[in-house]
Symmetry: C2
Subunit: 199 residues, 2 copies
DNA sequence: GACAGAGACGAACGATCGTACTATTATTCT
DNA sequence: AGAATAATAGTACGATCGTTCGTCTCTGTC
């Protein structure tokens, strides 16, 4: 890895963390330069535009997400255990990944849902992929005989997303100390409702 | 209502709609002036700071929310019917209220969850109140005998919030045409799980 | 060790932001 | 109707934004 790549990675590390609190738009090249002890033009040179910086920030976070959530989750046994692993890793990931402002993707989703552009398209593709992966994990749980055949994977995936989103909302904005506990309870309810009836 | 109040309301109408797409921070006095055919200083004079503009924008939206959601919901019969009314009105409210960028509160929540200040405190108070109201509606459904006694109102309220958030997410960002349908299905599942077992 | 190329810096640009001040036009009240 | 007051416009300010450009300082290679 050349010297340029090293500093570029360091910039992106800060960028992900900074964008998690101020958003992809609030992200500023000047501030990024201060926090990395570089000059403004030095930072800018690595990305040739702000939009490129935003996209690479999203991509950098996506790589971390794959490392910290997706890969470990897929290491769990197929079926319900894998779903439990995915949920647990997902809930913990903003903390584990050093994003002081909570999940960057959630912040970016609210920001970009009305702003057309390459950054939005990038995020949409990422999130569609993640939802599809979740649905596939649920599908496998059905195939495995853990979940009932009538369970709709896409429905389950959207429900799971809702549990995560409302947890972040209650926890980060409202400061509810029980948000995490309630999210786990909601998850259990979802899983129980999907399970095959036990004899 | 004096002339000043009339234009102030007109500005705030545009402000709510504009902020729903670009966020409370992306909201700009200059752009607001263009769209209302006023001068920049003319708009500024009505609010003596941008923070005040943001807060009054939130407050303006809250008044509409009370008119379009809270009051009509409370007009429905206590218990499960009132919960159904609240949910239906809630899901439809961004459209009904002319917010082209989706629910302003959702956008503001993601934006302000890390930015201390009066605007954040205002939003937090609003959303806490709304969640508390939802919980009370659920509590009434328990008292009414529609819901089981073990149902926890705050849990139900957070779950409901999750259904709404994931619907907005899937619909607005991912463009999923089934998002609304899935949200209604998730709502039905929540209600069914809370109901007293039918004989 | 010299040379080519990449990396970082510093200064400057046009634009736009929030805000302040002053002047001018509308409105309200007696 | 005219005086008092409120509402709007105009202009200008300092700051900060993304971006450009020219220069210098490193790094890696023959």
């Amino acid at each position: 890895m050349s010297k340029g790549d090293v500093t570029r990675q360091a910039i992106l590390d800060h960028s992900v963390s900074l964008a998690s609190t101020v958003g992809l738009d609030g992200l500023t090249i000047g501030r990024l330069a201060e926090e990395t002890a570089l000059s403004k033009s030095g930072v800018f040179a690595h990305f040739r535009s702000k939009e490129s910086l935003q996209i690479q920030t999203l991509e950098h976070a996506a790589v971390r997400f794959a490392d910290l959530v997706i890969r470990p989750a897929l290491a769990a046994p197929r079926g319900e255990p894998r779903i439990r692993a995915a949920f647990r890793l997902w809930m913990d990931w903003p903390k584990k990944s050093g994003m002081p402002g909570g999940c960057l993707f959630v912040a970016a989703a609210a920001e970009l849902d009305d702003q057309p552009g390459a950054a939005r398209e990038h995020l949409v593709a990422q999130q569609r992929q993640w939802l599809a992966l979740l649905a596939n994990v649920v599908r496998a749980a059905v195939a495995e005989g853990h979940f009932r055949a009538e369970v709709e994977p896409e429905q389950f995936a959207q429900d799971l997303y809702g549990v995560m989103l409302s947890c972040f909302f209650s926890h980060r904005l409202l400061g509810d100390p029980d948000a995490g506990h309630r999210a786990r309870a909601a998850f259990e309810n979802l899983v129980m409702a999907a399970r095959v009836p036990q004899a």
